[in-house]
């Protein structure tokens, strides 16, 4: 059974060669934007490492018990560690517990594999605590880390791992993969590939999760609807969208997550405007909004679009700490007034 991963052929080749030639390292770090396939690749690699009856070296059968349990993330010698929530924090205690687990001999397989997901969410103490383990991992353990960028981790962590920077696939590549493997009709696959920016995970989610796509449309319509409005109307919008009075912490966390997602959609719209203004209209991602984007592009210039992207970026990064309503108000105030 081959790995069946979309794209990243070089990485798959490299990892399976490591297994085949018996030169598996003790620590790997997979980086790349969300949805690019870091976790998938790490888990497939773990499966290949743990499989008891590989059909060929560097591959896995998918039939044996370790294989099946690894897929379900239930295998005894596989430890998966991640922050409790996305955007949460991985604490030092979790890392210490992992160190303890790794110091024990494997239960049934011949090695222990630990997968640490979204390691950028590990706080500084947790990262530091892992340093020595990463450098000289106990006995037969293998650590697989995933993170959004290597630059968000301590440099000392990165230099101890074998770094595999996963990159988004080219649009054509992803589209043809989607057509072949997920049986998505070619035109849809192309637009999914564009909207997802070459990230298979997002493309598949957009396709299967109708909520995500309708969310996207909703956010786009919000933005386009806000542009012609006056300040008072915009504030009204914020009042309706951001209900933080008397809200619980969970509700606010959910809201933050929703906003982060929405901002990405907004950014992609502004990026399209930027591309359209500069004359690269063929490459825009939100092809279903082409007319609006063209209209918008005739009214604002590329610098304004770039400014909006930066604003969204800043707002997104401040979401965790600042008053949400204030942030969003400041954001919509800064939108240009455009009659569409």
């Amino acid at each position: 059974m081959s790995w069946e991963i979309m794209g990243h052929e070089w990485a798959v080749h490299l990892l399976s060669e490591h297994i085949r030639s018996g030169r598996v390292r003790h620590a790997y770090l997979f980086t790349g934007p969300a949805g690019v396939g870091k976790r998938t690749l790490a888990l497939k690699f773990a499966q290949a490492l743990l499989c008891t009856q590989p059909p060929a070296p560097g591959e896995f059968c998918g039939e044996c018990r370790p294989c099946k349990q690894t897929v379900l993330q239930q295998f005894s010698d596989l430890t998966i560690l991640q922050a409790e929530t996305i955007g949460g924090e991985m604490k030092v205690d979790a890392v210490r517990e992992l160190q303890h687990t790794l110091s024990l001999t494997p239960f049934e397989a011949d090695r222990r594999v630990a997968v640490l997901l979204r390691f950028q969410e590990a706080n500084e103490n947790a990262q530091n605590a892992l340093l020595k383990t990463l450098e000289e991992a106990p006995g037969k353990s293998i650590l697989l880390l995933t993170a959004d960028t290597a630059e968000n981790l301590l440099p000392t962590i990165v230099s101890r791992c074998e770094l595999l920077r996963l990159r988004p696939l080219s649009v054509e590549h992803l589209a043809s993969d989607l057509t072949q493997r997920q049986a998505i009709p070619a035109p849809d696959a192309l637009s999914l590939a564009r909207i997802s920016g070459g990230r298979p995970g997002i493309a598949i989610r957009l396709n299967s999760d109708s909520n995500l796509n309708s969310n996207r449309k909703q956010w786009m319509d919000h933005l386009l609807g806000l542009l012609p409005e006056t300040l008072a109307q915009r504030f009204d919008f914020v009042e309706k969208q951001v209900k933080i009075r008397n809200s619980t912490k969970e509700e606010r966390d959910l809201l933050r997550m929703r906003l982060r997602e929405g901002f990405i959609f907004w950014q992609s719209l502004w990026r399209d405007v930027m591309l359209q203004v500069t004359g690269l209209g063929d490459e825009i991602a939100n092809v279903d909004y082409r007319t609006q984007i063209e209209q918008l592009a005739s009214k604002v210039n590329e610098n304004e679009a770039a400014r909006q992207i930066n604003l969204l970026e800043t707002t997104s990064s401040r979401l965790g700490s600042a008053n949400i309503q204030l942030l969003i108000e400041a954001l919509v105030m800064n939108l240009p007034t455009v009659q569409l």
């Binding site: 060669e17 020595k132 000392t156 920077r165 990159r167 988004p168 690269l280 679009a305 992207i309």
Partner: protein, 566 residues
Amino acid sequence: MSQALYRKWRPRLWDEVIGQDQVVKTLQNAIRGERVGHAYLFAGPRGTGKTTTARLLAKAVNCLSEDPANRPCDVCENCRAVNENRFLDLIEIDAASNTSVDDMRDLRDKINFSPSQGKYKVYIIDEVHMLSTAAFNALLKTLEEPPAHAIFILATTEIHKIPATVLSRCQRHEFRRIPVPEITGNLRKLADGEKIGVDDDALTLIARQSTGSMRDAISLLDQLSSTGEHVNLALTQTVLGTAALQAVVDLVDALIAEDRAGGLQIIHNALDGGSDARQLARQTVDYLRNLLQVRVGNEKIVDATIENREKMALQAQKFTIARLVETIRLFNAAAGETRSTWNPGLHLELAIIASIEAAHPPVQAAVQPAESEVNLRDMKMPEFQAPSHPVNRTVEPSAVMKTSREVSASSQSGIKTTPVPQNPTGKPLSGLSAAPESSEQPAEASTTPGTNSLTMEELQKAWPQIRSTVKKAKAQTDALLLSAKKISLEGNRLILTFASDIVKQKMENDDNMEMTRRAIYHVTKANLQIVCTVAGAKTAKTDRGEIAREGLLDAALSLGGQIKKD
């Protein structure tokens, strides 16, 4: 599972330590003279040899070789024990995992026992910066006067986190980044030892990529060679995600030509071809930095082939130094950007847009008029006629008069100091000097009907458009307008209230006021006189917003209130 090459090839003798001669010399002399200190602190970037040197030192002090100059000999019983990680008197502590004060107390309790195998007990405390403050303090006394048989070696990458009281008790050794030639030399030796086939240019790329860290370099080589194939430049580029140099050169060409579409296209092609966005940004910074070196006449230190050098010289001439610096700053920010990464190329794209925008200081924009945009500078418009209302109706007549005079003075000097031809088409900014003078006349000249009347409502509606018109002509003016605390209209005078005198003076400098006047005329066909004032500090705070449209004062006025002035 094989051992990583960087662990396998950890230096075992002093001679094998690369690029840290100053440290190695000192330590060797200390061994030779048998004058080893009791506490060392090794600091430096990752992968420069701190842990390695610490272990070497531990080996050397316990070596059984007769000749002190020959220690460590790497053959005696103790040396072999250290190599095999079974030497009892070498105690390596991971300070990042054992941060608490209890861990240090434990160490303090045990340190008094004499060494069991060798002559000295050596404590290597790695990542020492992670110790808690209490732990550091608990260590202080022991560090100052340890028992005669104990040696401390602290190692850290973050020296600034170490308390001064600890620093002053240790001999401090700084480890430097290892230069590229020494890394390539060592990699070559290692590759030969491991029978790895690798090309020289691939080695150079690896060495550059590792920014002075030997561990990074060896890890990379290890990774590349792990498939068993011959390591060439192409393979290295795929795995590292570096783009071909040509992409970077083309990108810089696009920047010079101010071809936004071309620049974005180059990025897209490179990323689709498997380059990593951050790597591409870094490469661009590297290349631009080289251009800067060429530009300031430092060609010699630029490492490039002859053809590249010629191309660089050509490109460097097309940049001003200021623009190069700004462009480097922008791309460097893109390379270091750690915030959201849904689209890795985005920051690079923004850098291109911003750097081309930065290449257009607004004054030069007048020389090359942008297509289809209003050119405020060349716009034909009537001069400001006269104030529509008598001086005695103004709030602070003297202040207004003073303001006008200042305007006239500063704008005239502004013209003089601006070398760029302001107006190729022949209608100069004549209004600048004329307008304020006329405003000083106390005469009650009647307003020209139709051109000067503008209600607050209309102004509010037109304001965003006015702002954007101004912004296209001169971004600075727009920024100043944004910082106006209050904008009000009295007859045909537009009064801009600023929070501080500094901003007000900025607004009055150069042609800011003239630009605003022209923009208003362009959008509304009303010819207004613009007056800047400074708000009283207290009212300024309450009057926020572009136009205090929905403010309390406005509400009061619309309900029939009147403003009374003493």
